[in-house]
């Protein structure tokens, strides 16, 4: 039981540390390049919507 509790504590600490890292990462990413990122993903992964937009009406 002690081991299980200690695992729970370890897991909770790991999740808390992870959440903090994620929040910092999101903050760091607020650099206004979201459009460029989306365009590159659309290009690399062939999003149809982006292809249709590029083709025009």
């Amino acid at each position: 039981m002690t081991d299980e509790r200690s695992k729970d504590v370890d897991c909770a600490a790991a999740i808390a540390a992870l959440s903090e890292l994620q929040a910092r990462q999101r903050q760091a990413h607020l650099s206004g390049d979201a459009g460029a990122l989306t365009a590159r993903i659309a290009d690399d992964f062939g999003w149809c919507r982006m292809a249709n937009l590029a083709a025009g009406p």
Partner: protein, 286 residues
């Protein structure tokens, strides 16, 4: 809840199969019951060195793994942002705005992360529900059923019932019988439990299922513990329902390639072993 086990080998196989299924089935609607966070800053520890970081190295020497959708998606995010993409971000990256999304997680941090990346990718139909995923996805199944969808169930506890009374296994049976494509992930910590979820699901539905199971084998005396380390005796697998035969075949090919790439591997505890990849099927996939 944020998945503290992201990027470990069990996560790798889950996402290898999921990404391939999504790429081949191209659902117009995607729902996930336990989405976790969208993205995880990569960490360089023994388990990730054995999991995603080793995968990327061995994929460079394996045509099959190199061509996998998982390899492309994961390499993109790691190289570009230093992030490991969770299930939802894997699928968003592959499908973009061609699909709508219902991403469920009770954890507010995870929900915030999913919303953030849905906005960043300009997805116009990305709903994040901070609620019981089993109930939300059960309700979702009945909506717009004319459009091809896909449900991903990746539970912490397969038998825990949410407020609506569904467990993850209950929902998996319901999804399988609805005709909607299903990806269900399970794990275990003793070799006697190999493919346990397949046995339980086939006892509850006649819908044809495919199961790709990875059992870690070796001589180490370390007790199996999926949550701490990838050790002999631990294992994990993916169950598919209502997918095309070619999709299950593609996952079989990738599972075999993964096992081959990890043959006689050194585990994080220093011992040697291998991955035993097996498939099970109780009928022709649709």
């Amino acid at each position: 809840m944020a998945n503290p086990h992201f990027g470990k080998l069990a996560d790798v196989w889950k996402h290898v199969a999921l990404a391939e299924v999504v790429e081949l089935e191209r659902p117009r609607r995607y729902a996930e019951t336990h989405a976790g966070s969208a993205a995880y800053p990569i960490v360089h520890d023994a388990e990730r060195e054995f999991g995603i970081l080793r995968f990327l190295k061995v994929a460079a020497g394996s045509d099959l793994l190199a061509r996998s959708r998982y390899n492309a998606v994961t390499a993109f995010w790691l190289n570009d942002r230093g992030l490991y993409p969770g299930s939802a971000l894997q699928v968003m990256t592959i499908l973009g705005d061609d699909s709508s999304y219902l991403l469920c997680d009770m954890d507010p941090e995870s929900a915030a992360d999913l919303q953030y990346w849905g906005r960043e990718l300009n997805l116009s139909r990305c709903e994040v529900a901070q609620t019981d995923g089993m109930a939300a996805v059960a309700a979702w199944l009945g909506q717009h059923a004319d459009q091809p969808g896909l449900v991903h169930i990746d539970p912490f506890d397969p038998d825990a019932r949410g407020p609506a009374g569904y467990s993850a296994l209950d929902l998996a049976v319901r999804v399988a019988e609805s005709g909607t494509p299903l990806v269900y992930w399970y794990g275990y910590e003793e070799s006697s439990d190999q493919a346990w979820a397949y046995a339980r699901l086939t006892s509850r539905t006649r819908t044809p299922l495919w199961c790709g199971d990875v059992l870690v084998t070796g001589t180490s005396g370390t007790p199996g513990d999926l949550g701490i380390a990838t050790t002999p005796g631990t294992g994990f697998g993916v169950i598919l329902a209502n997918v095309h035969a070619g999709t299950a075949d593609a996952c079989t090919t990738l599972g075999n390639a993964l096992a081959e790439a990890y043959a006689d591997v050194v585990f994080s505890d220093g011992s040697r072993g291998s991955l035993n990849f097996t498939t099970r099927s109780n009928g022709q996939a649709v």
